[in-house]
């Protein structure tokens, strides 16, 4: 059983414990890099945060998406199947789910305008929830890793705070979230429109206010302060969804969510390999893991749609629905492979918590 530190210097508690190096952890996993990039883009204004802006930079954006977003989606699958004993522990997820997912995808491509539309809506509704869950998981992970044992109530509050950007994202008039689940005639009622607008404004404020309030509350509790990176992760996810337009959020959030994810998954992969007494160094494992993920990402996002084109389907439905299916597969896999309560994840998070001074 790991020991909880008794009294640590305040600066050390606030800085927290990094997995690699504070700069790497704060910039990549914490999302600091995304805040810097978004601020630079917003100030310069030369690189519009819109699709038309991206249209002029296709040559830069497409490889960026492959190297971050596509690779990150594939990396959860790579992690799942490189985790020792995964097929024994999770036979449904590892053995059955891929075939079911492929069959469902094919069915949706057969009926793109009815079933396909729902698959896309499900993916777009689930995405912000997935990001919120990742923000929560990373925040708890860094707190635990830094010796801040959050109480049950604080964890529940933290979960709700992390879910706020998700609630903001699903209040959309068309296609996504409540726009998918509720009839447009109801949502277009003037009173409903006004109520939704007001709700969005309130949530936007809460997204930035509540993390600070929770941070202060935890600081005053027995656990002591959360590390700032735990706060940063939550704020970053809030910025992605509250400060950017919905479409921009979907592009930039996926890029930086991908960076964040790849960083943490590589850290855990290296720790897993070290625990398995691998003779290779960290760089070898990172490059190998990332390389396989990027290649698989290219295969999934770029080659697989053409297999459906080969089978006679249109490119549009093949591309859009393959992307949606990969997203949903990733969300499901992630919900299992990042459980912190047991297994090697818990060992990595708990490892080397500083002993009382």
């Amino acid at each position: 059983m790991s020991q909880v530190p008794a009294a640590r210097p305040l600066t050390s508690s606030l800085a927290g414990r990094s997995f690699v190096h504070p700069v790497v952890d704060y910039l990549l996993v914490g999302g600091g890099l995304s805040l810097i990039v978004i601020a630079v883009i917003a100030v310069r204004g030369s690189f519009q945060l819109s699709f038309s802006g991206f249209g002029e930079n296709v040559s830069l954006m497409a490889p960026l998406i492959l190297l971050t977003n596509s690779a990150h989606f594939a990396s959860s699958t790579v992690r799942l199947y490189t985790k020792p004993g995964a097929t024994q522990e999770m036979p449904g997820l590892t053995l059955l789910f891929p075939i079911v997912a492929l069959a469902l995808l094919t069915l949706c491509i057969f009926e793109p305008e009815s079933l396909g539309g729902h698959l896309q809506s499900l993916q777009m509704t689930w995405s912000p929830f997935h990001y919120a869950a990742q923000a929560y998981g990373l925040s708890v992970m860094y707190s635990m890793h830094s010796g801040c044992r959050l109480g049950t109530v604080d964890k529940k509050l933290l979960r709700w705070v992390c879910l706020l950007p998700f609630f903001l994202a699903i209040i959309q008039p068309t296609g996504t979230g409540i726009g998918w689940l509720l009839p447009a005639s109801f949502l277009n009622e003037p009173d409903v429109t006004r109520a939704l607008l007001a709700t969005r404004q309130i949530i936007s404020i809460l997204i930035f206010a509540t993390p600070l309030l929770l941070f202060a509350k935890v600081w005053r509790s027995a656990s002591g302060p959360m590390p700032l990176i735990s706060l940063l992760v939550i704020v970053t996810n809030g910025v992605w969804w509250a400060a950017l337009t919905y479409r921009d959020a979907f592009v930039w959030a996926t890029v930086f969510h991908g960076v964040q994810y790849l960083a943490i998954v590589c850290i855990f992969h290296v720790r897993d390999q070290r625990a398995a007494n691998s003779p290779h160094g960290a760089l070898y494992h990172v490059l190998r893991f990332y390389g396989i993920s990027a290649l698989l990402g290219y295969g999934l996002f770029n080659l697989l749609p053409y297999a459906y084109v080969f089978a006679g389907f249109g490119f549009v439905e093949s591309m859009l629905l393959v992307v949606a299916a990969i997203n949903i597969h990733h969300f499901v896999v992630d919900a299992f492979i990042w459980r912190l309560s047991r297994g090697s994840n818990r060992l990595i998070v708990d490892a080397a918590v500083p002993l009382p001074g």
Binding site: G116, Q120, M124, N302
Partner: protein, 278 residues
Amino acid sequence: MQVSQRTRTAALAASAGLLIAGFGLGAWQSLSVDGRLPRLALSYNWWMKELAAKGDLERVIEQRRIAAAIDHNSSVPALQGLAAALQQAGRSEEAIEAFERVLALIPNSVDTLNNYAAALSGLGRHSAAIAHLERALELEPDSELLRENLEVLVRHRRELAHTRLAQLRAALEESPGSVPIANELAWILATHPDADIRQPDEAIGFAMTATQTGGDRDASVLDTLACSYAAVGRFAEALATGRAALALAIRGNDADLTAELRSHVARFERGLPVIDSG
């Protein structure tokens, strides 16, 4: 759940096999059609452009329609693409529907209003087209293109009205008792959006002719007379005649006409004439 090693191996092999086969077929398809591996692209727009370049407009429309149904992330560009493709194919009614869906999402899009006006004009709905161009001009008052388009449309509508009036007058000389001809003449002269086309006093004369030659049992004809009265400010007579027309429409179970006449009566009650915005 316990799964035997053999089952695990078989399931893994099946999944991996399907995936590898998919990748292989995808690569083969791309190489054989495009002569290269799939490009890195953020969207399907390049594919639409290639289809359009091949002149396969029907396939473009089909793919645009699917994109509009699925791609909630880019629903506006997807619908704009669909509307443009439908208009290019001469399917104006469907293009108008697509433009209306775009405008429901972005009501202040000047480009969409301009294209929508072009589609409406193509179907002869000049007044509606002009109304949308006027709205676009309110949003972008300095646009030369919008101003030119508006001037062309207004001029065209006026010319069409003059031509039609001349045809109707000639026809009425040949068939003085024709209710439809007298009714249409009266309608144009009473309700045309251009003030210099409207001749309300003359309209009343033609409308009276139409009602006195059997049109008094026709809700549309009575409505024309009511609108003619309203055009000269005789709202009490307009209201009485309009209500009689409405009663006939209700008795005839014509829902569209009833709704239209109700709106006319409402205008008379407020002391407003009817202008044909069709």
